[in-house]
Every structure is written in structure tokens, then in C-alpha cells.
Symmetry: C2
């Protein structure tokens, strides 16, 4: 295989424009201290020759790689890809992240990293050393993995933590979980529901706690009891089955259930149907995340829409801004969740 050498390099441009390499470099990087006339002349040569700087070379000498690394949990991501249940978390990250990166001449790369693994540190260090990204985006549950956070801090790489309260380092972004939990529960309360069950997510994800808090707050504010109405899930369909069975097996069973993700809501739907209950007439269901299955369920599920694309987009923008020397925003960035009202909610049967 022939050695690939760049067809047109900064040298060619410099020669063509009759200036030094340095001046071309300044034009490429939009640095000041270049006379407009000079800059125009150089730009003309760049356009004429179709010159595009080599990322590798820029990375070699300069301080930027124009690369942002998005880290996802290996096991869970691969499992979701294999399951083919339509989870579009990665797609939404790509949508928000790639497009925003492109605006700034950056690229986004994906990397899968194990959480439950002593190799985390080695794996991540390897990726960082090989790629030398200008920034890293952490997704749950990595966002709160202190091993990862500390490593990134040590390497002095700007990073965003999606779905984390992350008080210490990095840019923390949340997706309105608590408020969404509260609002969706309130929506049910307004429909007349008094017994509203909640299926929680795994403790490993901080956002599980937030979603639950929202539900608790709304119930409390309305003077409604939550005793026995909380069932623990772990985001899996199976856990949703068990949780729903527990909830619907109650003496005084709930007339509505909020599930912490779509899979568990689907399980909820299945159990309800199995019990001969009609959704939403006998049981209202609200799910979290709004991955495609929510819309495709029968009936289509009303769901909290997790703003993954928008959040990733903001994460990219903040990282690049930090890389440009701007201050990292203080405190938490909150990207509010949406709510898509479909056909799985109605007033309670007795109302």
C-alpha cells in the first residue's frame, strides 16, 4: 500500500501565495495580526488549491486535536444494540454532538468503556493517549465514576458529565429529571389519580434518584401517600415486570404508574394487559425517556422526553468554549425535559 502523503500541504499554499508557512497557519487558525489583504491572498490560494489541514499534523504540533470523545458504557450499549429494541440514545448523541462539532470544525468519536471493571483506568488512559481528545463527554453511569472523573481532571481535559450533579469537576448537565418526575406525576394528579405508583431505576444512576424525588415531591405537595407505592426496578424489562406485579398486586392498587424508563413501562403495559386491565381506562402509565418504543407501543405511551440530542449539543459547545479558554459555567446546566402526551393516560376508573 502506497505511502499516503498529503497532496497539498501548507507549504504549497505558502509557495502559491508567496508568503511564509507561518502566515498561512495564522490564516487557517483565524489569528489576528494578519493584514486583511494578506489574509485574502492566502485564503485565495487555499481555495484555489483546495487545501485542508491535516488533523494529525495539527494535533502533533499544536495543542488541539479537534476531537471530542463520547464515552458510553460498553456492556449496556452493546446489549442495547444487540437487543434491537429501538433505543436511540447513541443516535441522539450523534445527532446533537456531531452536528455541533461540525459547526466548529471538530469531530466526535465514540468509545465504549467498561464501568464494572478494574481496567477502566487503563482503557480510558489508552484512549486518551492514543486520541488525545480536546474534550470528553461522559454519559451515565460513567458521569459519576470518580475514577474516570479524576483521570480526566489529572489529564487536564475538559469534560462534560451528562446526567450528573457532579459537584466537583467538569461541566455537569442534567436533563430535567426531577422536574419531569414531578410534572408527570402532577399531570396524573390533575387527572384525578390519588394512588400513583412509581417504578424506580437503579441506584447506580443518580438520575434514578432525581426522577423518584420528583414523584415524591408531587405526591407530598398534593397530600397523597406514597407508602408501598414505590417499586424498585433496574431499567430492565424483567425488573419492570416484577415491579408492576408488586404494585398491581397491592390490596389498594394504584390507578396510575410512572415508570423510570420505557422498557419498564412496556413491562408495565404487558402486566396490566395480562391482568385484564385496559390502559388507560383502568390504569394510566407514564414512561421516561421517550425512546421510539414509547410511540410504537399499544397504546402509545405518554412519556417524558429526555433531551439527549440537545444536551449533547450543549456539552460539545461548552467543552469547545472551555478549550478556547473561556470559563466553565458554574454549577449545573439543566436542559429541561419535554413531555409527549400520547394515549396511555386518562382519569382513574372511579373518577
Amino acid at each position: 500500500m502506497a505511502r499516503i502523503r498529503q497532496a497539498v500541504t501548507i507549504k504549497h499554499v505558502a509557495a502559491d501565495a508567496g508568503v511564509s508557512l507561518q502566515t498561512v497557519s495564522r490564516v487557517i487558525n483565524k489569528e489576528p495580526n494578519v493584514r486583511p489583504q494578506m489574509q485574502e491572498r492566502v485564503q485565495a490560494s487555499i481555495d484555489k488549491l483546495g487545501y485542508v489541514p491535516s488533523l494529525a499534523a495539527q494535533r502533533m504540533s499544536g495543542s488541539r486535536s479537534y476531537l471530542i470523545l463520547a464515552l458510553n458504557d460498553r456492556e449496556r450499549t452493546i446489549a442495547e444494540w444487540r437487543a434491537r429494541q429501538g433505543s436511540d440514545w447513541v443516535d441522539q448523541m450523534l445527532l446533537g454532538g456531531m452536528l455541533k462539532c461540525a459547526e466548529f470544525g471538530y469531530r466526535m468519536m465514540f468509545e465504549l468503556v467498561d464501568t464494572h471493571n478494574d481496567h477502566v483506568e487503563r482503557e480510558l488512559t489508552a484512549a486518551i493517549t492514543a486520541l488525545q481528545p480536546d474534550g470528553v463527554i461522559l454519559t451515565p453511569p460513567h458521569s459519576d465514576n470518580m475514577l474516570i472523573v479524576n483521570l480526566l481532571e489529572k489529564h487536564n481535559i475538559p469534560f462534560a458529565r451528562i446526567g450528573s450533579a457532579g459537584s466537583n469537576a467538569g461541566i455537569a448537565l442534567t436533563m430535567g429529571d426531577e422536574k419531569a418526575g414531578e410534572d408527570s406525576t402532577r399531570h396524573l394528579i390533575e387527572l384525578g389519580h390519588k394512588r400513583i405508583g412509581f417504578i424506580s431505576g437503579p441506584g447506580e444512576y443518580v438520575l434514578s434518584g432525581w426522577r423518584q424525588s420528583g414523584w415524591e415531591r408531587a405526591m407530598q405537595d398534593a397530600g397523597l401517600p406514597t407508602d408501598g407505592l414505590l417499586a424498585a426496578g433496574d431499567f430492565s424489562f424483567e425488573s419492570g415486570l416484577a415491579a408492576t406485579e408488586k404494585l398491581l398486586g397491592l390490596q389498594d392498587r394504584p390507578t396510575a404508574i410512572v415508570a423510570s424508563n420505557d422498557h419498564m413501562a412496556m413491562a408495565c403495559l404487558q402486566v396490566a394487559k395480562g391482568l385484564g386491565l385496559t390502559v388507560p381506562d383502568d390504569l394510566s402509565i407514564i414512561s421516561f425517556d421517550n425512546t421510539p418504543i414509547a410511540a410504537l407501543a399499544d397504546p402509545p405511551l405518554s412519556a417524558v422526553d429526555q433531551p439527549v440530542a440537545e444536551t449533547t449539543s450543549q456539552a460539545v459547545e461548552l467543552i469547545i468554549s472551555a478549550k478556547n479558554g473561556n470559563a466553565v459555567p458554574e454549577g449545573l446546566i439543566n436542559v429541561p425535559a419535554g413531555f409527549v402526551d400520547r394515549a396511555s393516560t386518562a382519569p382513574p376508573p372511579s373518577a
Copy 2:
């Protein structure tokens, strides 16, 4: 922002092991001509220091970037991401491509490129120049875009063309479209169907023709007529609606329909229901691709499973093999499609 310099470089390793840079380089690249004892000593230093070579530096001096670029159609991909209908084409590519890349120490990058655009050439050249990938994976409809193919050939970059017969350049891979069209039609014939409609995809995709040919062949082989049973679609839901209306509006309407993708099959289902037809009792439907919506439809659709992950995986492997100087396989690589029998097919009503 501090200048990021590599913490531990090849120099450190060389110093630690007391050998020359070149020897370390040889060990990294698993070149022969290194005494086992030497190689062990160097490897020990590498492990001890946690050395990982910089991709950028490898790219700069060597002939490889360890990067494979996957190209997708910008407009269509973004539209699918936005629509959130669960299309997992990108996820499956990532699944097959990233994992295979990782086996060889490569990375996969995604790039969106416009097809219907005079900028294709400029856009792609820019990406190639900036990234200098070791290989490129083309997906439909890019796989048959001669502008792209010629460009890649000119740059001497190994590339794979997924879903293309691509006689001239690059590694062509198909996903068993014709046989799948034939087999699924035959499946319906065996169930007793005699009037089987077919909704085609857009001509822009060569695989549309293959799928259709498969249907035609099966019908022909069985001595069944196809006149009037072909309706043109373009992969969109709307086109599926129109095509199905045409087909079901026929005097002697089909008792089964094969749709060239899932969206059109969903449209088919909707039209059938609107007409008061029960699927599969009154109408059997088989769809192509088997994206998540097929499984989530009501009834779940029997579908041809497009082996995207496996095909991408093979594409990566062949590209790396080509890059290593091995001959590119002659002719077409065919990765057979699967078939998932769900609940949308049954014997025809009169049978």
C-alpha cells in the same frame, strides 16, 4: 489551556529499556526481526510505563492512520435520527464496525455526506484530507455514487461498498437482497398465496432492483403473474400508503404484499386496517430490513433481516486486510440476509 504533550512517549520507553526508538517501534508494530528476548524487555517497559502510541504521530510518519471512515447520507440519516422511528442502521454499523475495528487497534469514525449536492467532492476530499483514513465504508446510496468511488480510487484508499454490485472498484458487499426477495415471496407462495404484491424501493438504491428481481423470479418460477402487482415506493411511509392503496384497490387484489422496507410495510398495515382487513388473516405482509419497528408493530411483522452489523464487520476486516497488502477479494461478497417469522403471514383467506 495548557499544551498537552504526551506523558510517556516512545523515547521514554526506549530509554527505560535501553534500546533505540526503532526497536520500540518494531515491537509496537509487531514486526519480525526482533529477538524474543529484546521484544520481552521492551514490552516490559511499555507495560511498566503504560505507554500507548499517539495515533497522530503514527499517522504523521507512517502510512496508517488506524482510522476507518463510515460514510452515510447526511439528509437521510439526520431525518431518521429526528424522526425517532427506531431505525437502527447507524447503531448496527457501529456494532459491527466498531467492535471489529477494535480487534485490530483501529477506530471507526462517522461522517455524513450529501449525495444530492455538487459539494460531495469537496466535502469528501476535505474529510479525507483532514482525517486521512486507512479505509472508507460506503453505504447506499453512496455506494454507487461514481463521483465518490472515483475520488476514493484516485486517493488510493481501500474502500467497501455496502449494498452495491460495484463491478469496477472497491470491495462490493451485498446483503442477500435478491435471494431474500425470492425466499420471502416463496414463503408466501408455500402458504398458498397466488396474488402477491410487491412495493419497490427507489431506483437510486440498486438493492431496490435486487429485491424486486427476487420477487419476480419467485413468482415466475411458480408460474404466477406479476402484472399490476408491482407498486413503486421510495422507502417513505407516505409512498407505502399510496402503493398499498393502489395494490388493495385492485379488482383482484393481492392476498399478500412484500414491502421493500419496514416503513412501507407499516404503511401497508395501516391501509389494510383502514380497509377493515385483518393481518394476517385477510392480508399477509412481509417487510424488509427488520428495524425495530417490525418487531413492535401490531401484529409483529415477519421480516427479512438485513445483516448490517455483520456486513459492516466484514467490510472493516476486508479493508484492513487490503491495507495490509492482501489482495482484495474478487467479485461480490454476499452476506446472506436472515428471515424473522413473526405474526404477519398466514395462508390466504380463501385457502
